[in-house]
Symmetry: C2
DNA sequence: AATCTTTCTACGGAATTCCGTAATCAAGTC
DNA sequence: GACTTGATTACGGAATTCCGTAGAAAGATT
């Protein structure tokens, strides 16, 4: 979990584009919202933004907001005066104060209880904090970087997240793609982690193993990949074979299945390109509709298609 | 093998188009070439053409030309005079003579040895035949219908088939699509064969079994389907279950694999439409290239794509 | 019942895909 | 070395796909 190693490994086009965008806004002090699944490396992005910004000489403070009792959270963020907090001895600086002049990174902002949201909003609007039990406001100057696993807009429309806070936070949003959306990054990442865990050993990877790595869906994204490489690097010596991979990478590999089936269709089934593709698309559309129990809008969204495109395809394939 | 039952079961668009074309040329007496895999029903088409033509009152004669010794073939086609053919007693009319005024159907024309090709050509050009051992030519008026499993043009360019005979034969060519290219015909065909083999019993089919029928590649086309239904109809009483299907239909079913893998990708792999399709296309292109050992033209042909399209895709996916 | 949200449907133009044509290249063949 | 044959490139326009927009319909919410 130690992310001191601040290296953003990525040759991927999408990622490069994001880094490019970041460099354009990095010195503007505007709040950045990082959106992406767990493990995509949102912390690393946050730290990266801090480091290349003109605040880099001041503090970078980070805190995960998930599953924290409301009171503790408030105390952490805003600090407290002597004796004001139960069983807390002396006074304590809050993270906002510590980050003064620098940046604060609030991870899992989507898990923040409503009540803290309100307090956060107050800080952002007034640019000053009030310690718990304190009386006079302390001005703070911090760059806010937040991270969310889900689309906050959704939470807003469901009433779980304050709209005004959302607008404060969402000044510069970045959608970090999941690892499976940028599989070309997998090989360089593996290489990087191998070097990181075993700087001395020279470890290679068989084609078969690499193929499995590339095709595995990585629900835990880069974090999961890192853990897997860590584990493997402990016992493998010269070469990583397919058999060395964790069970799930070996077996829960939908793409491997797909590609094998695809070849079967071509070689055994004597099917043409169009037949195979159409067959697959047809099935996929139907499956998506089934999963969304008939809701076209959702099916389209899940497939990553615009509703129009989705419907065009439904028509093309004569699906209900 | 008895094809007396002259029913062309097909709701398929491509097939209807062919039937449509046939009706336009049926009375023109021009030679028809039927091209298609074994079992697609070329004999039925031939008989159909004869029956709806203005020659229907005269004879329809058919003969399979595959694997026939040259001499026997000649005797069959052209007949022979008394004692001229080894151990053949009396004189014998050839099929061309018998078909006089009607139609003759030569199946598997692609298997005809070169020497007979020459004789055939002579008949077609002169419109008269010479019995073996005979001296005076007998004028014949027949409509020629031929069938081939492969593209005769290929055989011509390989020097195996006479170009001039090809042009005589190929006046009106029809490409009959394989069963797997018109899967919508499978259910009505099954129904038809069931009625045919068990006119009394009312046999139903479970969805699962029907799905397997539809997705099986049917390398033997309609003939294979007919045989399978025949076999099944012998022991099944009320309903055809998945378990009743022959081994190959149950297991050698590339499409079933593909669809399952596809769903896995969507549900477990969390993949988007584009990702799945692209992944599949990429793989398919590479596989086709591998199978054709790098020959792009062949790979394209096997995939049923134009070379240009194939190359566009190669570029799109950055393949070599 | 009135309003707000969500989903469905239809349309038109931008972007991409598809494929015929033709030029170029690479090997045989004579 | 000229010729033939088959494969690889390159190009441009027809056909299709893709998606934003915006109005209609169907549910929700009050």
């Amino acid at each position: 979990m130690n992310t001191t190693n601040l290296t953003l490994i990525s040759k991927n086009q999408q990622m490069r584009e994001i880094l490019n965008q970041i460099s354009k806004v990095v010195d503007s002090d505007s709040s950045v919202l990082l959106i992406g699944e767990t493990g995509v490396g949102k912390e690393i992005f946050a730290e990266y933004i801090h480091k290349i910004s003109n605040r880099s000489l001041n503090a970078f403070v980070k805190i995960g907001l998930a599953a924290m009792p409301s009171e503790l959270l408030a105390s952490e963020l805003f600090g407290h005066e002597k004796g004001s907090f139960t069983s807390a001895a002396g006074e304590k600086k809050g993270l906002f104060e510590i980050a003064n002049g620098g940046s604060i990174f609030l991870d899992d902002i989507d898990d923040v209880p409503f009540e803290i949201q309100t307090k956060l909003l107050r800080v952002l609007e007034s640019k000053e904090i009030m310690r718990i039990g304190g009386t006079n406001p302390i001005p703070v100057d911090v760059r806010l970087i937040t991270a969310s696993k889900v689309d906050l807009k959704e939470l807003v429309s469901r009433g779980i997240f304050r709209a005004d806070l959302f607008y404060r936070i969402n000044v510069v949003p970045f959608q970090i793609p999941s690892l499976r959306e940028r599989r070309d990054d997998i090989p360089p990442l593996i290489e990087h982690f191998l070097k990181m865990f075993q700087p001395n050993k020279k470890i290679e990877i068989t084609n078969e193993a690499m193929k499995a790595f590339v095709n595995y869906p990585w629900p835990g994204n880069v974090r999961e990949l890192k853990n897997v490489i860590n584990r493997i690097s402990l016992f493998v010596s010269g070469k990583i074979n397919f058999d060395d991979l964790p069970f799930e990478v070996q077996n829960e590999n939908p793409i491997e299945f797909l590609l094998k089936a695809c070849n079967k269709c071509y070689v055994d089934g004597n099917m043409k390109f169009d037949q195979i593709v159409k067959c697959l698309e047809h099935n996929l559309l139907k499956e998506a509709l089934k999963v969304s129990s008939g809701n076209q809008s959702n099916a389209a969204k899940n497939l990553g298609l615009s509703l129009s495109t989705f419907r065009d395809k439904l028509k093309k394939y004569n699906i209900v």
